[in-house]
Amino acid sequence: MSHAPLSPAIYGILAEFDSPTDLVYAARAAYAAGYRKMDAYSPFPIEEASEAIGFHKSRVPLIVLLGGLLGGLSGFGLQYWINVISYPLNIGGKPYDSWPAFIVPTFEMTILFAGLSGVLGMFALNGLPMPYHPLFNVDRFSAVTRDKFFLCVEAADPKFDVVDTQRFMESLKPLSISEVPH
């Protein structure tokens, strides 16, 4: 029985650049050349970089919104259930459903749930924590947390070809090019 190998021999080809401008132009060129499975790496957020690799919209805001709604509803629901249904107390003749008094905990629960779901959602969507990643096999890649910028075209891309892609990457005039082993 012969199967195609589940994973190609390498993860991708990594090119190193000296400035965010070079990185973004290289990423745009790679996108224009038809590559889609690729990623840009940088020591700080570059808005243009995610645009250049064709990643336009993150789902984080939606998660924050849903988390906030859930938090607000459960915060208010909790207080309503406690003060009206489970444990009604007459406090100075105020109505059991003293909704204005419930606003503060409702608000705080909205913020708490929105914030926590946003943080967990962001890390989950990013697949973090991820202690191992093939890119860490490339020694030069450690400069991505310092002052260097990288573009990696992944072998999983249908257009990927070790020789052609490498030639294409060289045309982008990077500082260095490395194959990323698994």
Partner: protein
């Protein structure tokens, strides 16, 4: 303000001519990374740092002893009595939580307003917030008398079948402060993740590398990750902004919802929030001035930061002054005997010395900040910040003690004198705060490295 593309007005921090820059000259991505990371990784532990930590830990030891005695004997070792049931515990709680607010203001509100100068001070300001909230949180717990039952404050299905009473501002406080502590902690940690990755790559000792590696979660600077990260960061700032305003508002509700003379007033929420930011910025300066000096960070925490902080103190100080003025005005305008007496008692009563010191420290002395020369002098800024911190503590003392000790019925009047245990616990928390800050600047990058990189002109994508 500045004209941006398409003639739109853009909120930006634009220096006047001759104003000091946000970033000193000659910096590169690499040099900034090294300066900030090496302060943690390669700088030897100095005598000054050890001495500072020793003082902090010494005070923490006193705190431990005082708390142990408190648990053995009870809150009777404090100066609190009937009618003054709140005493130092609540004064210190309000003071500490207020100090924390400047951290959130710097990290969240200034981020939303695109005040990029904040990038070099937000990290330790957030740390300051966390430690200040930790100090604040101790006081209500200790004040309970039976702190081991603190979880009764939270709504949980207990075998007793009882639930918290949600019409009480004290329960709101539980929600506000615990949410604030949680959101501040995650905001801080999220900001640290890319920097932990930097520390992971820079650390040479295998153990240090491993610890930073775990904390850095395997961050690799992917553009997709950054996109989600930025979206989250700005949203966290967006929700932390109303949160920080709500926290001191809720703290002020602890007073304003009651009917005690001097407390039952609608000006409390804005005036508490302004006072919180006032004292918080004073603490930021008290920390920033020595840190930039001893760690040679003058090119990142520049005079511009200190001057901006001084201006914010001046502005919030004036809001606080407005609050004091209207407290006095309304006391007489209200026509209420009790309110009027409350004000006269503050001015001429047994605590008048504290009141006038407070006016001197919070209103009079800080006015020297109008002078650009004073704002440009770090020694003066440091001293004035200390004065404001004391002044804001006195403000809470006056609000709590004068009102409680002289309420409606002369037969129930009392007098409050703090005991040595009150002072031991108060100074103990200052020691806790100091020790925590000292430890923090040795184990984590005290300035946000990745946000500093974005300040360089090279960080912008230019047209080719």
């Amino acid at each position: 303000m500045q004209r941006g593309p398409e003639g739109k007005t853009v909120l930006m921090d634009v220096p006047w001519p001759d104003e000091p820059p946000v970033l000193g000259p000659g910096q590169t991505f690499g040099s900034m990374t090294d300066t900030i990371a090496d302060a943690v990784l390669t700088r030897p532990i100095g005598l000054g740092w050890l001495a500072g930590l020793a003082i902090g830990m010494g005070l923490v030891a006193i705190l431990m002893a005082a708390v142990t005695y408190l648990f053995l004997i009870g809150v009777g070792i404090w100066g609190i009595n009937i009618p003054v049931g709140w005493g130092f515990a609540i004064i210190n709680f309000v003071w500490w939580i207020g100090i924390g607010h400047a951290g959130t203001l710097i990290s969240a509100i200034l981020l939303l307003l695109k005040q990029t100068w904040r990038n070099s001070i937000n990290r330790f300001a957030e740390a300051m917030t966390l430690f200040a909230v930790a100090c604040a949180g101790m006081f209500p717990l200790l004040h309970m008398g039976r702190p081991w039952l603190a979880y009764w404050m939270f709504p949980y299905p207990s075998s007793m079948g009882v639930w918290p009473q949600f019409r009480s501002p004290l329960v709101w406080d539980v929600f506000a402060v615990s949410t604030y502590a949680t959101i501040s902690a995650v905001f801080w940690y999220v900001g640290l993740v890319p920097d932990f990755a930097t520390m992971r790559e820079k650390a040479s000792h295998p153990f240090t590398k491993k610890v930073y590696g775990i904390l850095g979660l395997g961050w690799r600077g992917s553009a997709r990750h950054w996109k989600r990260y930025e979206a989250l960061y700005i949203l966290l700032a967006g929700i932390a902004t109303p949160l920080v305003l709500s926290v001191h508002t809720v703290v002020s509700f602890d007073f304003a919802i009651s009917i005690v003379p001097g407390w039952h007033t609608t000006i409390f929420p804005p005036y508490f929030v302004a006072g919180a930011i006032y004292s918080g910025f004073a603490m930021v300066l008290v920390l920033a001035i020595p840190i930039r000096h001893y760690y040679h960070l003058e090119s990142m925490i520049t005079m511009r930061h200190l001057q901006n902080a001084a201006k914010i103190m001046l502005a919030t100080g004036l809001i606080v002054a407005y609050g004091y003025f209207f407290e006095a005005f309304m006391a007489f305008y209200s026509g209420s005997t009790y309110e009027r007496f409350m004000m006269q008692n503050r001015w001429f009563g047994p605590y008048a010395v504290f009141y006038w010191t407070l006016i001197l420290f919070n209103l009079v002395i800080p006015q020297v900040l109008w002078a650009p020369k004073i704002r440009a002098n770090t020694r003066w800024l440091f001293l004035i910040s200390l004065v404001i911190l004391v002044g804001m503590w006195l403000e809470r003392f006056i609000i709590i003690i004068t009102s409680l000790s002289r309420d409606f019925l002369p037969s129930s009047w009392g007098h409050y004198v703090a005991t040595r245990w009150d002072y031991a616990i108060f100074f103990g928390t200052i020691g806790f705060f100091t020790a925590a800050i000292f430890i923090f600047i040795r184990i984590m990058p005290a300035i946000s490295i990745f946000e500093m990189r974005t300040l360089l002109p090279e960080a912008e994508v230019k047209a080719k």
